[in-house]
Symmetry: C2
Amino acid sequence: MELDKDKGHLVIIGGHEDRTQDKTVLKRFVELAGGGGRKIVVISAASGMADEMWKIYDAAFADLGVERRVHLAVHTREDANADNVLRELSDAAGIFMTGGDQKRLLANIGGTALDRALHQAYQQRGACIGGTSAGASAMSGHMLATGHAGPQPEKGAVNMGAGLGLVHGVVIDQHFSERHRLARLLTVVAQNPYLQGVGIDEDTALIVARGRGIEVVGQGAVTIVDGRSMHSNMADVAGGGCPQLVDVRLHLLPGGSAYQLPVAGAEHAVPAALLDFLHLVTKRIDYHEDH
Amino acid sequence: MELDKDKGHLVIIGGHEDRTQDKTVLKRFVELAGGGGRKIVVISAASGMADEMWKIYDAAFADLGVERRVHLAVHTREDANADNVLRELSDAAGIFMTGGDQKRLLANIGGTALDRALHQAYQQRGACIGGTSAGASAMSGHMLATGHAGPQPEKGAVNMGAGLGLVHGVVIDQHFSERHRLARLLTVVAQNPYLQGVGIDEDTALIVARGRGIEVVGQGAVTIVDGRSMHSNMADVAGGGCPQLVDVRLHLLPGGSAYQLPVAGAEHAVPAALLDFLHLVTKRIDYHEDH
C-alpha cells in the first residue's frame, strides 16, 4: 500500500514519552505512519547506547501492533551512506529518531544519503518522521546544539548548529518545563530573533501535518516564543549577562490543541499571532529547495 | 528634614536579598528613604519569627549607616491600630515589610490604621515602602495568596486575595526564577487577564518611583506577563487542566533596567508594549480614592 505523498507528518517529541503504559504519543506516531501494518524504522544514531535504545522501542512498537520493525544503528557516516540503510528507508512509513545527543546524530547523518532519504520520505513520500529529545532538536534547520539552563537568559549560554532542516524558521528545545528551559530558549530567541523558539515538554509531541496544520498530543504542553517584535539590548550585553527583552510573544499549547491552516476565503479559528508559526512549520518544501 | 511628598518609592523585592555582604538592594532602599540619617521602621507582621527577622534587618540597616531603626512586630490587629505604631510610622522615611506569609500580613494589618498610615506615607509624605517576599506580594491590590508551582499552568492552582493596594492592576510573585514560578504566574494571568503578572527574582527589586518611572536593581530580573491580548480557553478548561494561551506578551527586565514616564511632547525610549505597565505602577493615587 502506497503512502499519500501529500500527507507527511513530523512528530516532534519532548523526550521521556511513555513507552510501556498508555504510550499515547508513540501510538499517535504509529497511527500517522498508517498503522501497525506499515514498516517502522528506528534510527538510534544519536545515542551511545544504540542496542539498549532499540530494545526499548522494539518492544514499544511491537506492543502497538507494528509487525515490521527495523533498527538502523548508524554508528558512522559510512553506515549512513550504505545501500542497505537506503533500502530500508525507501519503503518505511514511519522513521523514528531516538534520543541521545543531537550533535552525535548530525555528525553521523548530516548531509549523508540517509539525511536525503529522510527528506524524501517526509516531503515526497508522505512518511511520518518522529524524533524524541535529541531526535526532536535535530529536526530544525538551526539546531540548539548545547547550552546550560540557568534561571535567567544569559548571553553566550547556548550554541547553535546546523540541524536536519525538516522544518525551518524555528529552533526546538525538549524536556522543556521539566528542566526549566524557558530562560535558555529566550537566550536563543534573543540572539536569533528571526527564529521562533519551540519548547516541548516530556511525554508530549508537536505534530506537524505537512501543508495542513498542527496538533499537540500528550501530558504536557508546547511553548512557542516569538521574539520578532521584541526590543532587546542583546547586542550591547557582555558575555554572561542577562539581556533586557520587551514584547516577546509567548504561546502555550497543551495536549489537545489543534490548528488547521486557513483555507482561502473560508472563516478560520487561528489567532493572528499563531498564523506565521503555522505557515512556517507546515510549509511544503520541494526536495530540491531544501538542501 | 521633610521628605519630598512627590517622591515616594516602592521597593518590591523578590526575597532572599543579600543582608550581609554587598546588600545592593537594601542599600538602594536606604538611599531612596533619604539615607542613613532618616528613620527606618521594620514591620515583621508577615513572619511567625518576628524577633529573628528584626535581628537580621536591624543588623543590615545598622551596617548601612541607619541610626534610627524601629521594630514594629504587630502580632494582632489591635497592635496595628495602636497609637505607638502610628506615631512610629508618622515620621518614618523608610518602611520595610519582611517576608513570611502574605495572608498573615494582611490578616494582621489589612484595613487597620497601620494600613492607612502606609498609604499616607507613600502617597502623601513621599516615603519609601519596601517589601520582600511575602512583603512584596502583599503590595498589590489583587494579591497572589497561595498557589503551587507545577511545570505547566493549571486551572485552580492559585488563590487570590485582597492585598494592600499600594499598586493596582498587577499581581506580584517572588522567588520567581529560582522557584520556577512562570507557570503559576501564567495561571494567574489566564484567570485574571486584566492583571499584569510581575515575577521578581531573588536578590532583585522592582523599584517604582511614584509618578516618575521604574528601575530594576539586583542580581536577577523582573519578568512581566501581559495577557490582555491573549486568546485563551481558560473558561472551558476543567479544574486541574492546562489552558491554551496564545499571544501572551512577556518582558524581561534585568538589574540595571530603567524607564522614565514619557514627558508630554518630548521624545522617549519606552517601548509601546511597556507603556501601560509603566503608567499603571507609577500612578499617583490620592489617598481618598485608593480605599
